[in-house]
Subunit: 355 residues, 2 copies
């Protein structure tokens, strides 16, 4: 072999080896990039529950569309795979990859979770989004959920809820004494302070309990959803405002490790699907509530009432006592509470001028 | 050749041909699926304009992230590629693929565009989203923009704006007579009805015009943005509420043909990026407005004022006259107007009970 040809051959070989080395990682990356994922999302809602469950269904649909089928999410209603109130644990442990619900369901894990769902006399939907998305709330939420190997985003909002269904008028704070009412979370604690009995009943069992007198009253969501639940058949008086839930944020959560192991573009897709669901959910409630309120009043002769101002004023004082007591017990809860209230003070001032 | 071998060979050949036929479209599809796109987005805002221009920047960033670089969008500030008010034409003609602005800038193309941005005394941000996303507004918007080979989505919202900057107090409707005010769109038409002069000045020139007395007054957005514009240096009185823009929707538009030629997953990605931007933009304004209002009042001694109720009542009557007159001239405008007002009637009723 001539020296020139030898060099050429070795050169080519070297290039080939180099090319081989270069190609392999590229192929490995490409494989990761196009690997398909089949994830499970458990929810706290009955399967395909109007608006709330549909929000979860939409997230799965949009993620699959945006990822061209690379990430398929199967959504399970509460109880189909795990019971509704085990969603947090199932995602935290990695049994499933995703969950959908509302953060106040996890007050037993950490009381600060409740600030990321609803606080009585707290921020409305627009305020919750402003606090979480642009006011530093997301960072606090991340800090809290990281303890549980979770990450969550706002993924829906009910807007201001209604105050609930009663079989008597509420004319003074004393009318709440001894009242057995289905009302979860912080609202329930405030009712207890007012002398009522806050009772926990899963969504699917409220109607029967109310109809049979096991409970005297219940809150739920708002006119559209409450209509679907048929509460007008078991209670006469429908009260506003929903002092206990002025803009409840729904959450979509992921197992943090599994999320971080996803390619970046799928992470971004999940986050955007949550944002789209967040605005879709609130918009849908806002578009339907008045239509169904009219049906309730005109077709089902529901008596619409407003809590008297002195009742609301007393509930507001009791809310502060509940929140102060909660914050006094735990430094992180206090940190979130202070941050939330500072933001709210500013947001309220702007709200007075603007809305 | 033995018959058996012949059959085998032909069979293999046939299979190979079959496989070839099957493989080619699959490859063609795969090529379409992974083909990269470089798009341009022109905007009505100065480059990287706080919040408004940033919303456009974020859409581009999120689309690139979600598509793993398959769709790259380069964002151009107003005047960088086409003048701000030629965004509509540039996207409509396909000169560029995307645009970002607000639909009321295109009133000259069709007056009904204004309903998809802001109507004086109209829907607030939450109401606009509810109408467009879940109340049938998007379908009307699609119908209108299809005439121009366009499609658009809500991609941001300013929230309730401020009423503007004045160098005198507005104590009666007569104080608006002869007033030279920078106020675009329907608000400008209402001001004209009240005897004022509505003057069109591009964003970048307002401050100088106000400072030199070419105009007596101006509206812009809200405390955060108005602070950045420095208007407090040229006018003393800062009025609320922004009766003329109670929740201005920003839009992201695409050339319809180019959009429909995209793979479905990229279409879904663009739509989700707009939704994410929609909620980010409003949340950011809501989080910052009060902070900057305090700066304006406390550090720059701006005098905060509220339009007297009788002034607002008269402007509201004039707004109805402007809208009625507009609807009388064009059936499609009337269709959108009626739909918007029907929705608003319900939404207002719910708003009274809830917010």
């Amino acid at each position: 072999m001539k020296r020139r040809n030898f060099i050429k051959k070795v050169g080519t070989g070297a290039l080939a080896v180099g090319a081989g080395l270069a190609v392999k990682p590229r192929r490995a990356r490409a494989a990761g990039k196009h690997k398909t994922y089949n994830w499970k999302m458990v929810t706290t809602w009955p399967p395909h529950f109007p608006v709330l469950g549909e929000s979860a269904d939409y997230i799965a649909k949009w993620v699959e569309e945006m990822s061209a089928g690379q990430l398929k999410i199967t959504v399970y209603g509460g109880g189909e795979l795990v019971p509704p109130l085990q969603v947090f644990d199932a995602v935290s442990s990695g049994t499933v990859e995703m969950g959908h619900g509302a953060a106040y369901y996890w007050a037993g894990k950490h009381e600060a979770t409740q600030f990321f769902a609803a606080v009585p006399f707290g921020l409305n939907a627009q305020g919750m989004n402003a606090w979480i998305i642009s006011g530093g709330g997301q960072e606090l939420w991340d800090e809290l959920y990281a303890r549980f190997n979770l990450k969550a985003w706002p993924a829906g909002n009910t807007g201001v809820q209604m105050g609930g269904w009663f079989n008597k008028e509420i004319n003074s704070i004393d009318d709440l004494k001894g009242l057995k009412m289905r009302i979860p979370g912080l609202g329930g604690k405030v009712l207890a302070k007012a002398g009522g009995n806050a009772i926990l009943v899963a969504g699917g069992e409220i109607y029967t309990n109310l109809d049979r007198g096991v409970i005297d009253a219940t809150e739920w969501v708002g006119p559209y959803h409450d209509y679907k639940m048929g509460f007008y058949k078991a209670a006469k008086y429908y009260y506003s405002p929903g002092w206990h839930e002025p803009g409840t944020t729904l959450e979509c959560m992921v197992n943090k490790q599994k999320f971080e192991a996803l390619p970046k573009h799928l992470q971004a897709i999940i986050e955007a699907a949550c944002a789209k669901s967040n605005i879709w959910c609130l918009s849908t409630f806002e578009a339907l509530n008045e239509i169904y309120l009219q049906k309730l009043v005109n077709e089902h002769h529901v008596k619409l009432r407003t809590f008297p101002d002195p009742v609301l004023a007393k509930l507001k004082v009791m809310t502060k006592e509940v929140l102060d007591g909660m914050a006094a017990k735990d430094p992180f809860t206090k940190k979130v509470y202070d941050h939330y209230m500072d933001f709210k003070k500013n947001h309220d001032a702007w709200d007075v001028i603007s809305e």
